[in-house]
């Protein structure tokens, strides 16, 4: 399936969500040790095309977050919601944080990846659940 409104399949992104659903999320690593989420054909830091798929750690933690009150139309029914940037080992992941009251979110909160859906559009999205 694809979640791209243009009809194209976003290979890296859709594959990543599929991998989260099957419990086997991964990241791309270059020989220099830089880690990235897909899609990448080269490492943006060092230009290496020698990228390997590595298992993403199961646990991450919140580095920064915001409670969004004013949403774009595609998230109108979701607001207010929490967007967080989290650290999973060598990569950061941005996602919609679920299952925590906005007032209870704090930096360092332990989370794991999940696949959710926008309440507004029903489209799949990358979610974060407390671990």
């Amino acid at each position: 399936m694809t979640d791209n409104p243009t009809g194209a399949r976003d290979a890296g992104y859709d594959d990543f969500l599929d991998a989260v659903e099957t419990g086997e999320p991964y990241y791309l690593a270059c020989p220099e040790g830089h880690g990235w989420l897909p899609p990448r054909t080269v490492c943006p830091d060092c230009g290496s095309a020698d990228l390997s798929e590595e298992s993403l750690p199961g646990a991450g933690e919140v580095e920064t977050y915001t409670v969004a009150h004013v949403a774009a139309p595609s998230f109108a029914d979701d607001a207010p919601y929490v967007t967080a940037i989290t650290r999973f080992g060598p990569v950061r992941v941005t996602g919609l944080l679920r299952g925590v009251a906005p007032d209870d979110v704090e930096r360092g909160l332990a989370v794991e990846l999940a696949v959710g859906a926008s309440e507004t559009t029903g489209r799949r999205l990358l979610a974060l659940d407390p671990r």
Partner: protein, 388 residues
């Protein structure tokens, strides 16, 4: 290489004018710039034009030639798109070509029409400057992105909502007499703190408005100015650009803007001046936190120090380093494609002494303009100086 002079500046009022088209807005700005410059339209060798969301707001691409016609200029015309740094990108390309003798007279500007989209539509349109896969699909908006940076800044360096509020209050004060500004009214720290939340910790008054407007400059080479007796006392002496990863999550720093560091260092080096020489700055304060990030990248403050600058009174019109004497994006308004050139237009007027706030920087010789695209994945900095 030759020097580059600003012969004329032209701005429309920034604000809500959904009934005015982009071409009408830019036509007005260009007409004012030609009137200010006293340079004939026939001498223009190119138009460099910044615009970000024309396809969404006006169903109009290929705006370069359209805007050349609007401005009454028969010359090659190109649109530059670099999100909210679109017209600074247009300016940078013009500066480099004039310097190298490719052209002597260039019309540079930008326009954006946004309010006809409504708040929701404009929020969605602005979001396309973020990474569609890894940010927008997770619900990130632009206020949300800057809120993430603000939280990261507070955690790394300290600061609080009252520090941010002081930035908004200051910029509103600066816009009081700027008749082209969207807001010409004072606000208080309490107004900012009590405003409805947009993306915590940012509220409505931490955010720049959605705006319509246009800006234009007539740039000329030093030789052209001399030969034609053009009164153009302000020179663009430095230009620098920096870049960073598109998505915040891929950046080395969440509380710093390395693309702006790079742009500022390049611009200072290009001009042969340093941060200590700067008399005032016009910076990209799309959200209050952005002003603090900009001042640190411009090396006008140490990292972690700029958050309190407005609260301490250092960047107010009476302070040692006035910042955003135009009112900034916060109070002047932010029609995104017009913003970069509007900053340079305001800086030029401040240096010429014909800006409404020129008395705050009466002896100023060096001004800096900082224009950021997206969450500062792009940044362009220009240095303006009174020519010797």
């Amino acid at each position: 290489m030759t020097g580059v002079r600003v012969a004329g500046v032209g701005l429309t009022e920034f604000g809500e004018s959904p009934e005015r088209t982009g071409r009408e807005l830019f036509g007005t700005a260009a007409d004012r710039a030609f009137g200010d410059a006293g340079v004939p339209r026939d001498d223009v060798e190119s138009l460099r034009y910044g615009n970000f969301m024309g396809e969404l707001s006006e169903r109009q691409g290929h705006q370069g030639p359209l805007m050349a016609e609007t401005a009454g200029v028969r010359a090659p015309a190109t649109r530059y798109e670099s999100a909210c740094a679109s017209s600074a990108a247009a300016l940078r390309s013009a500066v480099r070509d004039v310097r190298h003798g490719e052209e002597d007279v260039v019309l540079v500007g930008g326009a954006e029409r946004m309010t006809n989209l409504g708040t929701a539509g404009a929020t969605e349109a602005l979001a396309i400057a973020a990474d569609e896969l890894w940010e927008v699909r997770a619900g990130m908006t632009f206020p949300g992105a800057y809120a993430l940076m603000a939280q990261a800044y507070f955690a790394a360096y300290g600061g609080d909502r009252e520090d941010l509020a002081a930035i908004a209050v200051k910029n509103h004060e600066h816009a009081l007499d700027n008749e082209l500004a969207q807001y010409q009214r004072s606000i208080t720290v309490d107004d900012v703190l009590d405003a409805p939340p947009v993306a915590e910790p940012l509220g409505l008054y931490d955010s720049c408005p959605i705006s319509d407007g246009a800006s234009a400059l007539v740039l000329v080479s030093e030789e052209y100015a001399a030969e034609h007796g053009v009164d153009a006392p302000v020179a663009v002496t430095g230009s620098g650009q920096g870049g960073d990863g598109m998505a915040l999550q891929d950046r080395e720093h969440l509380a710093r803007t390395p693309a702006a560091d790079e742009a500022a260092a390049a611009a200072y080096d290009d001009a042969g001046v340093g941060p200590d020489d700067v008399d005032f700055a016009e910076v990209h304060d799309c959200f209050t936190i952005a002003e603090a990030l900009a001042l640190e990248s411009l090396d006008l403050y140490e990292v972690g120090e700029a958050i309190g600058a407005a609260r301490r009174g250092e960047t107010t019109r009476d302070g040692d380093l006035p910042v955003n004497l135009s009112g900034g994006l916060k109070a002047k308004g932010h029609p995104v494609g017009a913003t970069g050139v509007s900053q340079v237009a305001e800086a030029t007027q401040l240096l010429r002494g014909d800006h409404v706030n020129s008395d705050a920087v009466a002896d100023a010789e060096v001004g800096v303009a900082h224009n950021a695209g997206g969450t500062v994945a792009s940044c362009i900095v220009h240095i303006l100086e009174v020519a010797a």
